[in-house]
């Protein structure tokens, strides 16, 4: 959905629509150079480790399985795995929100 479409459907007091309106506004401020930089940072790490998107997906599935063995309360859908470039080092990052274990 383009930002123009979204703005049309915005309701005056609509919570979520207002949020997406503002996040769209924010995104519009992102320059094409910033977008280029972000895209490059991602694509370079993928190129460097020669990992196909399919392989990354299967890694995520395996990781979710492993994590669930030790942390059954973790929701697999909440696990975020990314390859990224920070300063001068490339890293594999996994963000795994923990939940209180049920007794």
């Amino acid at each position: 959905m383009t930002s123009r479409h979204r703005r049309k459907s915005r309701t005056v007091d609509g919570g979520e629509d207002a949020v997406s309106f503002f996040s769209d506004l924010f995104r519009r401020k992102e320059t094409s150079a910033q977008v280029a930089k972000e895209r490059l940072l991602t694509v370079l790490v993928h190129d460097r480790v020669k990992l196909t998107p399919e392989a990354l997906e299967s890694f995520k599935t395996d990781l979710a399985e492993l994590i669930q063995r030790y942390f059954p309360s973790v929701q697999p859908s909440e696990i975020e795995v990314s390859l990224l470039r920070e300063h001068t080092s490339d890293r594999l990052k996994a963000d795994i929100p923990l939940r209180r274990a049920l007794d």
Binding site: T31, A33, A36, K37, L41, V43, D47, R48, R85
Partner: protein
């Protein structure tokens, strides 16, 4: 003892040939003995950019295959003493030259010159491998565009694998007006993404077109910003400390208006 420097990029059309011609000429103007080699076998180009196309008798493949001696194959530049070109062959056989041939060739030149610059073909295949085989140092040219930067990074990996040491980066065709608007990656951003040491930034410059039309390097043209940038890269190659600043539109305009008056130059 010459330093052998290969100018490469991965992606084609980003300015390798322009850079080789201008850097070679600038180094020679600054007093060095220079040979530039066109390693783009089958797609000879450095000769026309330097305006030497009518003087070619022998080429790189003639030397490698023993039909001509290296000395007699070097074409002397029209204007600068101690600047020579070894042209590429126009053969279609890409395997006419091997990496060992290039190592032999550069070793022969090392004795008599200060710099040997090699213009590398695009891509990462045999032609690229041959062009870096004899090199001591690598310069990677990129433009501030996603595809060029991505290909440059691929080349960095291959250069490191070939144990050539960390390459240095030339950012070509930077347009300060677009950078100011946020519509083009800046020098700092490209440097950060590639994590390479920059040796120069060359602005987008119409003089490159007219210089290439005439077959004269832009470094001869006092009013060419790109020409000045190449002169500065040549100085940095020689170990001179020339500050490297992000080119801005202002210093371009300032330079045009007052450059002559105050003798100030944009340090790109």
């Amino acid at each position: 003892m010459a330093r052998v420097i290969t100018v490469t990029s991965g992606k084609g059309g980003v300015g390798k040939t322009t850079t080789t011609a201008n850097l070679g000429t600038a180094l020679a103007i600054q007093g060095a003995r220079v040979v530039v080699i066109d390693a783009d076998i089958g797609l000879r180009n450095l000769d026309v950019v330097m305006g030497l196309e009518n003087r070619i008798v022998y080429d790189l493949v003639d030397v490698v295959e023993g039909r001509a001696r290296l000395r007699q194959s070097l074409i002397k530049d029209k204007r600068v003493p101690e600047l020579y070109l070894l042209p590429a062959a126009q053969t279609r056989d890409k395997d006419a030259v091997s990496s060992d041939d290039m190592i032999d060739l550069t070793n022969q030149l090392r004795q008599e010159y200060d710099f040997v610059l090699i213009d590398c073909p695009a891509g990462i295949e045999t032609g690229f491998k041959n062009a870096i085989a004899g090199a001591d140092e690598i310069l990677i040219v990129t433009t501030p565009e996603v595809s060029a930067v991505r290909d440059a990074d691929r080349v960095v990996g291959l250069v490191e694998a070939a144990e050539k040491g960390p390459p240095r980066l030339i950012i070509n065709r930077l347009n300060p007006r677009l950078v100011a608007k946020g519509e083009m990656l800046s020098m700092d951003e490209v440097v950060e993404i590639l994590a390479l040491e920059p040796i120069g930034v060359v602005p987008e410059d119409e003089h490159i077109v007219s210089s290439t039309n005439r077959g004269e390097a832009a470094v001869f043209n006092q009013s060419s910003q790109a020409g000045r940038a190449f002169h500065n890269i040549a100085r940095r190659l020689n170990g001179e400390h020339v500050p490297l600043l992000e080119p801005t539109e202002q210093n371009g305009v300032f330079d045009r208006l007052f450059g002559g008056l105050f003798g100030r130059r944009a340090r790109t």
